[in-house]
């Protein structure tokens, strides 16, 4: 019979091949679903995965959608590599947006100069990092599970944003609707391509990918992160402080999530409103794992996930396929990725019954 046997070391081939198998399995399953719905599976898959790639508008929108996902996921990958479980990037994303927006709201309608936007970005990153310090310090000082505390703080951030947008920061000319005034030009993220929605946030995402890649592959700090995560005992013997690592990774991922938050608000949204995030902080967790916690991988998986969102919309428009199918697709993808990951640590082996019993 077929049994799973633990590999003595991680298989490099499987590391590369397993996501490809996962994507193939997802595509096959989706094709079957399309066929069951009475649609031509090939044209449906083409609408999902090729249409957005074939025109410049689709490509631009993929970049817009992937920008916050990649920024957040790159930061999260540092946490997860170090075995630190920051689940609350969504909260840090929202607090970053709130902190940066504070400046946009207070300088609204004044003669403030070009310094506003850079200052907003700094405030956003700082806000996200400080907000991430709460679960980090609770873990280091009291041993509280950062999974729970960081997750719960998402709701706190959500309610704070809600309060501000409905109360003190509400646009006085906005008929009591819960949104701030539209940000001034000096508080808006400039566009990279005129006439599109692609903004300079995309450059920040690329820079984050490059820097994290350099840190991980070329520096002692990168080695330390991976060692603390993979072999905490060995890391202790090497003199690496795991508490400092918790604080460091939370600070970096919080800062990147906060930066993504303020860029999103000062860019594609243009004002602060409740519920402006479609859950980027949570989707970024999928992006991080789909990209195998590797910066380059995250860049690819962020773009890929953005593609499924935009393709999903085009499928709704041109083939009248239900939105739920996009959700099913994303669920399937994650399911197959996790399933295929077992191939990295295990391998299939034919064995007779007695042999397996002896083992």
């Amino acid at each position: 019979m077929l049994v799973l046997e633990r590999r003595t070391e991680r298989s490099m081939v499987a590391m590369v091949v397993s996501p490809l198998i996962a994507i193939t399995l997802t595509l096959v399953t989706m094709a079957i679903l399309f066929a069951l719905l009475g649609k031509n599976p090939f044209s449906a898959l083409a609408v999902y995965f090729l249409d957005p790639l074939l025109d410049s508008y689709g490509l631009q929108e993929i970049v817009v959608k992937a920008t916050p996902l990649v920024l957040i996921a790159v930061g999260l990958s540092l946490c997860y590599l170090a075995n630190v479980w920051n689940i609350g990037a969504e909260g840090q994303f929202l607090i970053g947006a709130v902190c940066g927006s504070w400046l946009a709201v207070t300088t609204h309608g004044t003669e403030a100069g070009a310094w506003v936007l850079p200052a907003m970005l700094v405030l956003g990153a700082l806000g996200g990092a400080l907000y991430a310090m709460i679960p980090a310090l609770c873990r280091v000082r009291f041993g509280a599970s950062e999974i729970l505390t960081s997750l719960m703080l998402v709701y706190v951030a959500d309610l704070l944003l809600d309060y501000l947008a409905r109360g003190p920061w509400r646009d006085p000319k906005g008929y009591n609707f819960p949104t701030t005034a539209e940000f001034d030009a000096v508080a808006t993220v400039p566009l990279l391509i005129e006439g599109s929605r692609v903004h300079i946030g995309a450059l920040f995402a690329l820079a984050a990918v490059a820097i994290v890649w350099l840190v991980l592959s070329r520096t002692i700090k990168g080695f330390e992160i991976r060692l603390v995560g993979a072999a905490p005992r060995a890391a202790r013997f090497a003199g690496f402080d795991s508490s400092k690592m918790v604080i460091f990774t939370f600070a970096v991922s919080g800062a990147l999530a906060g930066l993504a938050g303020i860029i999103e608000v000062a860019g594609p949204v243009g004002h602060l409103q409740p519920n402006f995030s479609p859950g980027y902080g949570f989707t970024a967790i999928i992006v991080a794992f789909l990209g195998r916690l590797n910066p380059i991988g995250i860049l690819i998986s962020g773009l890929f996930l953005a593609l499924t969102f935009i393709g999903g919309e085009q499928a709704q428009i041109s083939m009248k396929l239900p939105l739920d199918l996009t959700r099913v697709f994303q669920g399937l993808l994650l399911f197959y990725v996790l399933a295929c990951d077992s191939l990295v640590l295990y391998r299939f082996k034919w064995s007779s019954r007695s042999a397996s019993r002896a083992a």
Binding site: S43, A46, L50, G167, Q273, N275, P278, Q314, Q316, S318
Partner: protein
């Protein structure tokens, strides 16, 4: 090989696209909720289906549901514009800025935004005078309540909701000048869990008629479970409370969608702001049920009076909570601008508008 595959796929897509066009005018809809919410988005979907029934031989419709009001909305609207839709309805307030941005980019496409206030040459707005139905509900509620306390589940303190509470109380005060209302703000349009919890809390506090300005039938179910009365919202919710629903304010968008689509087909579409009420059948009362005949008759009389224009819910003088009489800009009644920007409670409401200074 790869290039061939891409080319083949592209041709497939192109042929699919060409087959579906057939010279029909495309009309797009963007919904904030799922079409299965039995409330706000569902009623827009009903309107779309009626539109297809009426003009299906000349048009083709598309909808995008569950569209987030943040950065995704602009893309969703633009995708419809790029896919060749000539008329696009965006059906939630939160789509306002995104609709305005896309409308600027596509001057040849007509946009229609529900419940907003930003307009353009190719961007019209539309909404319903729901306060008219609220006034009738207030009268019914005051007659049906034994405790003299109404329970009101509110979403957000925007003018539409505040004017709804005021209209309810103005109607109720014609029956019982000492009527009380307890308000719970759930900070959501659609959250069945919170809505049900709010309904139970209101009943526990002595309210015996539940009204809601949220979209799910959860409050109706909660009232039904306790054997109390309630009003539905957006759609006829009688199946969620057969013994409880007194009536429901239902949103009937079909006449508007059909009229505006016809205007596009005939080339007579003009921007504007349409605010239709009981009179134009944009707001329709569900059957008056579970009440004695005299209450039912009074409700129908009030409805007829509003339709004929004899009765206006915001008839001057209106006295605000602070005891001051509100300036009457519309002659005998408050004018539309005053109702659309209402941010104060009238006398008799013991609550405070959240966020008000």
């Amino acid at each position: 090989m790869r290039k061939v595959l891409i080319a083949a796929a592209a041709m497939l897509v192109a042929s699919v696209g060409a087959a579906s066009a057939q010279g029909k005018t495309k009309v797009g809809f963007v919904y904030v909720g799922p079409i299965g919410d039995f409330g706000w988005s569902y009623q827009h979907e009903v309107g779309r289906r009626e539109l297809v029934k009426a003009l299906g031989d000349k048009i083709e419709t598309t909808y995008l549901e569950n569209v987030n009001e943040g950065p995704d909305s602009e893309r969703a609207i633009e995708q419809l514009a790029r896919a060749g839709h000539k008329l696009i309805f965006t059906t939630s307030f939160g789509f306002m800025d995104a609709t305005a941005k896309v409308a600027k980019k596509y001057p040849d496409i007509k946009f229609e935004h529900a419940t907003g206030y930003k307009r353009d040459k190719n961007l019209a707005t539309y909404s319903g005078r729901f306060y008219e139905g609220r006034y009738i509900q207030g009268q019914i509620a005051a007659k049906m309540s034994k405790t003299g306390t109404l329970g009101y589940i509110a979403s957000f303190p925007i003018p539409e909701v505040i004017s709804g509470i005021n209209a309810t109380m103005l109607g109720a005060q014609t029956v019982n000048p000492n009527i009380k209302v307890k308000i719970i703000w759930v900070s959501s349009w659609f959250d069945p869990g919170k809505e049900a919890a709010a309904a139970k809390a209101l009943l526990d506090q002595g309210a015996d008629v539940i009204m809601q300005h949220t979209d799910s039938p959860a409050a109706m179910q909660a009232a039904a479970a306790r054997g109390k009365f309630a009003f539905g919202q957006d759609s006829d919710m009688i199946k969620f409370g057969e013994k409880s629903q007194l009536t429901s304010i239902t949103n009937n968008w079909a006449p508007y969608y059909i009229a505006r689509t016809k205007a596009v087909l005939e080339g007579t579409w003009k921007t504007g702001d349409v605010w239709g009420g009981l009179n134009s059948k944009y707001v329709v009362m569900a059957p008056y049920t579970n009440m004695p005949d005299d209450v039912k008759k009074a409700a129908m009389d009030t409805e007829a009076a509003i339709i004929s224009g004899k009765l206006h819910p915001f008839k001057c003088p209106i006295v605000a909570q602070d005891g001051k009489t509100v300036e009457c800009k519309g002659g005998a009644n408050l004018d539309d601008g005053q109702i659309l920007s209402m941010n104060y409670f009238i006398k008799g409401v013991d609550d405070k508008v959240p966020g008000a200074k």
